[in-house]
Amino acid sequence: MRRLIVIASALLLLTLLGIAWWESRLPRPVALTPTLTGQVEYCLTCHADIAQISNSHPVQTFGCVLCHGGEPLALDATLAHSTLRGGSNPSDFSVVQESCGGDKCHSGTPTSYSDHIQRATTSIQATYAGAIASILYTYGAQPDLSARYAVSAVQDPLSTSGITSLETFDPSLQTNPFIKLFGQDCLNCHLEAQPLDGQAYTRFTGCAACHTPTQAAGVASNTQIHKLTTAIPYTQCNTCHNRGNYDLRAMTFVPRQDTPTDRLHNYYQPIAQFTTCEYMLDCIDCHTRTEAMGNGSLYSNKLDIQYIQCKTCHGTLTELPQTRTLSDPNDLAFRLALLNPVVDLKLGDTILVTEKGEPLWNTRVLADGTYQLVGEATGQVFNFKPVKGSGCLQDPNEQSSAACHNCHSVVR
């Protein structure tokens, strides 16, 4: 009996010493109580060195768990990370509503300019509906080019485009071998898709595909970067655009063969025609948030949502571009300029606006009647003149970019 007591005591002692040793190895917790949640979290114990993701998401306000999920009080890495949303990317569309949603965050109303999730998830960049419809139509699987399918099923009950839902495109249900190949080889460039292998394609999925600038940071595949920005450089767009073509005969992706080292050659593929402003500016300087992220409705083709033309900024021989003098402090222009402060907008400033009234907030009308644009990603200043009053030979009724390229394309 006494021997048993001794053995039990020894085991108990060893256990207690083991627990004491294990506890001594745990880091001393660093507590953070974000104002938005009021709940203590210990993430900074290990992650104090991670840079704040953006000025709009200060860690003291948001903390980490609100966006990333995870176990806020765990000090063991495996346990703490066991319930992360979207792995290292909470903006992946599979979890974006839970991570980034909320009526005060990114699933608010269009009038509060906070309906980002609805817009992004219904956008052509997410649904890939145009490409899918085009392939199905081309190979006789549907009678017209109207979209019926998306990469993932998506609803838009308040549709303004006439399309209230798209079903999930499932290539395995298709009988045509080309459509099957399309499903196998050509679904790499929508916002839910994992990128192709290679540095040039490195990006995240979901919102971070565009708003986390992997290319500008020069990060290699699988490297984490904790940054969200609206100053999206063209290099980030290039992870999908301008990196090659889909060969519809072989139904496969063909990477571009050149290895450009400067902006002039990197921006567009060798066969493309473009003007000086098209390669000196970044994509987002012309393509507005509605063009890039959609307007919350489903569309059959990107052409149904894209509307910016050269004349949006330059006008025509008979009309000046549209402008707006900022008189409403709640004008969207101020919100956008706050997020990317390359210009100091003030009430009374006159800026260019698109045909749909979207503010080109990084422009302004100068006193002499000319215009100025500050590059959203570069901060570079560009001055330009209206077509009206110039010697331009354009036909005012011919405003496609191809018409302008006839005289203004860059030779390289």
Binding site: V6, S9, T33, L36, V40, N55, K104, Y113
Partner: protein
Amino acid sequence: MSASDLSRRDFLKLTRNILLAACGVLGLGGLVRFLDTRTQPDPQTDFDAGPADSFADGSRTLLSQVPAVVIKTAQGFTALSLVCTHLGCTVQIKPEGFTCPCHGSHFDPQGIVTRGPAGKPLTVLRTEVTPDGRLHVYTV
């Protein structure tokens, strides 16, 4: 008694007693530690802003630890919380009022919203001058 005189029985008895004592000490230590475990302290809600007579009429004094700004007029004290009513960022004091660096809300000097996305004015905090002449600001 020398070590060589220690019988096997006594040695085992001594070992047993040492182990039991060690377990008891460690167990008691663990119990004390468990009972002494403190949860996160409740956030501070009462802030001593200093002598009330140190605030000049027309002054706006930042209390960064609240965070709040104390406005002193001839009528008395007003304390405005600097926590933005949109999402809780700390607003900055500007000559024209207050601005939120996170999402761009603007408030006039009285804390009224002049630009969204905030929809509510800055919160007015309760103030009190204690009998010993010190100004206290309360967040709840």
